[in-house]
Symmetry: D2
Subunit: 345 residues, 4 copies
Amino acid sequence: MFFASDNGGPVHPQIMTRLAQGNEGHAMPYGKDAIMDEVRAAIRTAFEAPEAAVYLVATGTAANALALACYTQPWQTIFCATTSHINQDECNAPEFYAGAAKLTVIDTDDRMTPDALRRAIEQQADGNVHGAQRGPVSITQVTERGTVHSLDELHALSAVAKDYGLPLHLDGARFANAMVALGCTPAEMTWKAGVDVVSFGGTKNGCMGVEAVVFFDPAKAWEFELRRKRGAHLFSKHRFLSAQMAGYMQDDLYVTMAQQANENAAYLADGLRKAGATFLHSPDANMIFASWPRGVHQKMKDAGAQYYIWNGTLEGEDSEEHIGARLVCDWSIGKDAIDQFLSHF
Amino acid sequence: MFFASDNGGPVHPQIMTRLAQGNEGHAMPYGKDAIMDEVRAAIRTAFEAPEAAVYLVATGTAANALALACYTQPWQTIFCATTSHINQDECNAPEFYAGAAKLTVIDTDDRMTPDALRRAIEQQADGNVHGAQRGPVSITQVTERGTVHSLDELHALSAVAKDYGLPLHLDGARFANAMVALGCTPAEMTWKAGVDVVSFGGTKNGCMGVEAVVFFDPAKAWEFELRRKRGAHLFSKHRFLSAQMAGYMQDDLYVTMAQQANENAAYLADGLRKAGATFLHSPDANMIFASWPRGVHQKMKDAGAQYYIWNGTLEGEDSEEHIGARLVCDWSIGKDAIDQFLSHF
Amino acid sequence: MFFASDNGGPVHPQIMTRLAQGNEGHAMPYGKDAIMDEVRAAIRTAFEAPEAAVYLVATGTAANALALACYTQPWQTIFCATTSHINQDECNAPEFYAGAAKLTVIDTDDRMTPDALRRAIEQQADGNVHGAQRGPVSITQVTERGTVHSLDELHALSAVAKDYGLPLHLDGARFANAMVALGCTPAEMTWKAGVDVVSFGGTKNGCMGVEAVVFFDPAKAWEFELRRKRGAHLFSKHRFLSAQMAGYMQDDLYVTMAQQANENAAYLADGLRKAGATFLHSPDANMIFASWPRGVHQKMKDAGAQYYIWNGTLEGEDSEEHIGARLVCDWSIGKDAIDQFLSHF
Amino acid sequence: MFFASDNGGPVHPQIMTRLAQGNEGHAMPYGKDAIMDEVRAAIRTAFEAPEAAVYLVATGTAANALALACYTQPWQTIFCATTSHINQDECNAPEFYAGAAKLTVIDTDDRMTPDALRRAIEQQADGNVHGAQRGPVSITQVTERGTVHSLDELHALSAVAKDYGLPLHLDGARFANAMVALGCTPAEMTWKAGVDVVSFGGTKNGCMGVEAVVFFDPAKAWEFELRRKRGAHLFSKHRFLSAQMAGYMQDDLYVTMAQQANENAAYLADGLRKAGATFLHSPDANMIFASWPRGVHQKMKDAGAQYYIWNGTLEGEDSEEHIGARLVCDWSIGKDAIDQFLSHF
């Protein structure tokens, strides 16, 4: 009954196998391994982007911070939702990598509205040196509250960014989960919607520790390589990043695992709904924010269930009588564990 | 015949096994995994340092840059050899992580002499704001030219640092290789010699991608944790770093592999010596810098041997007739491959 | 009719005289000049702080950014009002000087409420590495909207900061104007209210370009000196900063000029009120935010009046029929100019 | 008998007069003052560079660090002489402003030789991410040891920089002194010799605290403005920087003062030569490095002479019997003071 995060589960066997295969013999280091050629081709194909520049790093924060740094000057500000990972969960890594740039947070919701984004951009300096200058827009998909932007919503946000000539970054730590939720292609959720660079997550979706950064315009490629090395994120034994990503793309495993994770979450949400839980956010993909009585919570903890209590004072319910909870499903959660969990209501 | 680097070889089976075992079930993320407890204990035992703070990162550059940043103010300078990895091979990562600090390079050799170190420290500002202030001393062991500081040399350098109250960092990307070469214990090569923090390398010695940073005084522990997260080097699925390091420490595998690597290099060096090669540096551990006729080089390349030509113009021989070469052995190089290589002379 | 800013007016003759006197003969550079001894003593006396560390820089942004950097770790966040100068008018200088730290803006008003401050602090990470850590609180007095915190308000904000052990910075670009408005002493508005470090402004109040940074605890003195030099803000001919500040403190000129400025603004505000203008913020010191018909605005511009139209869409009135305006008075604005201005209503 | 530095003397009366004139009435802040228009025109005329972008800051370190930052990526290294001000006297300001870039010091002399520069560039990474990438070349003219590069020497260094496509910065803190020593025009010593950006010093040559940064290609103009503001170096009462520079350029006062300073130094050097002093460097402009008996030194100190003892152990003579001294003349040193000084030999 592990619902604490999708970073607590096991690596998929197909990926473990690729790691074992990748371990045979010698390979050139620092991204010159042959497996990386396969990865590059697979991702370009999946994204229908034959010119894309594709790089691997081991953490989602590295992917976000390095991708954004390529599009942010130190005197600029990055527009993002208050709840975004880059704002709340990266300990100033984006600011660090972007040379002390600022983040301007937009507090409408976990999904910024186009109007709020436009207002925030308008308020920011343009053509005078006093305030931070306008920098990129960063959208998180799946959001940190488990909701998914529709393609229309992405297009609307993208349109605002384009109105001001601002680059668009997509934090896709749960990219595949969102894609499955929308029933769309990688291209539809990225460059066809105006995204310039995407953090394409693997770690939370069954990999060991690998994320791809995909630039649809390869102009930033060399800068990214230098920033990655300077950030100490270039692996010498890079083939083991490549092997993970190769296994992840092979036979669309990334889609399969996201489907399983989303189905698990839907099954869990359905059970919670029937059990009378209140939902704090719409459980669009593989994360659920819900609330239930403190007594139920105690029973679940006693039974060994693992999940985070959410800061109900701020966003959910955390009263004398109720707690707010975050539950995340990855591909590996079995229906048995969910049934067992639900039985404690 | 792969001698290009010790980062090109396979991961040792014992470590692969630990990775597979570590993959079972769920684990708490971000370093809260149970395997990390085992790692911490194993390293404290190996270093005879029950209070040491122990952390894992995935790259040697991250280990160095983060460790040094904890001991460097942005207005200070780090004293190191010109040939050091932090100066020549990290694309300004140490400067980046230390908030734009400086490196003062000491050019006596790949092993700084105590006198040269003292001179460099004396030349640096003390008590006036004009120049960079004195910061930590960083020693590389094994050096980037394959030589090993004797314990006496380490003590002498350390004594200079202590004379000025400066912290001492050891870049031990090839820590075990040096230890084996000296026949000493981890403690003798570190805190007993005055080292405050060590980058204890695993990647080049049969791991997949893991380095430990060991602080003998745990006062910097929390700062390190924040710097690691901010640098995007905190793994969510941290158990896979832990599993590697656990396998590496288990039954002193790190010593066994270093012994194999050093023996391989000694066997190769012996053969090269007999074949008439000239040594550019003393092959003390698992790296060899040697020179031979261009014709021999061509034969070896034709036969598929992989090694780097060294910049002979600067440091070795790279004339019309001779080339300078760097050859590195890891644990996995077989004697057959070495014999085959030597047969081309 | 120059109401654009209090940085557009002339330097007071008493300060010009001190500059001329300071120009005689030779003086040791970099803050070792004898006039600085006089300045240090004068400020310590004025602030009743015999141990205070006192430094001079030439710009208000330098004072703020350097003062804050001494109290902010790169992984922390600074709590401030959305409207604060450090957030909106310093082009990321605070982030730059604090090593890529974050600013957390509190949007209740130009004066943060203690509750809003407490809420913002509570939301920020404490004891886990994921979010930015809690850093200093920065208050602006006079605020950027021309209002003044009462001593009670300062104490209440300070109490919140102290509850969490956070340092307190006061941006006093218009320090003397606030002090005069409150009828209090420098000590009452700073260390007696829990302020740890203050940017004590001179430039906007009749100096040429000088601000003092006053640390009530001198523990940060040496760090400040290094940060100032590294920021390129240490003047070689420092005596000319000293001379300005000496003239500013002499016979409490700083108070006299602030009184004049505040009286000028009060006289102007009174006239505006009678003329029917609407006030967007309470004109507590020497700045006025008011609104009037577009036709009146046009007449004033035609007559040569200089002031900024404020972004009425966001904060004031800027409709078809009305404009929002910011008017600032310094010591030098004559009543004649004000009368002339008012005559255009 | 003040020979400690050319930053200890008085501001020239012509400049004080311009400051007083500049103080009349109101002026728009932040560089929009009318005097800046005059300055821009005067500098463009003096440099025969009608398109040049011209900016003012208050310190030489700010001029250097900001100018270099516009031409340096954080992963690059700046090539400079070991003795350069940016390396030894700016407390890591260049690294700070350039986002944690590196400095590669070239130790041939206070004037780098073209061969040594070429060697240093060749040793630096090109096209691989491991080392710092090649960045700008920075030359100091007058050097920190008082010598002056001939135009041929400048052209030869510039030719090396251009061979590698690297930008060229000139640290001209004593620009006018060098120009007078060479008998050349500003253009000949800058863009005609391949210089891309120059720090054109005023402070050490009779101003209060002002330096111009002149970009011969205005493409960096906007970036410089943002960097200046973000560095907290944009003066609100900018007219007082403008007034100084206007007075400095008026009737070529900058040339006149440099002539006086150089003549003073030549007169002093001549006397020292006759008195038997040994010269440690060629006194080409207004700085003298010389050595004399310790007994003489004591007499001079007793008589109140002010100059720095130079670190003879490293570069000059500082034996039991002799000291090394640095003496600097500005425009204001009278022949009487020099005669008095020489009388103590």
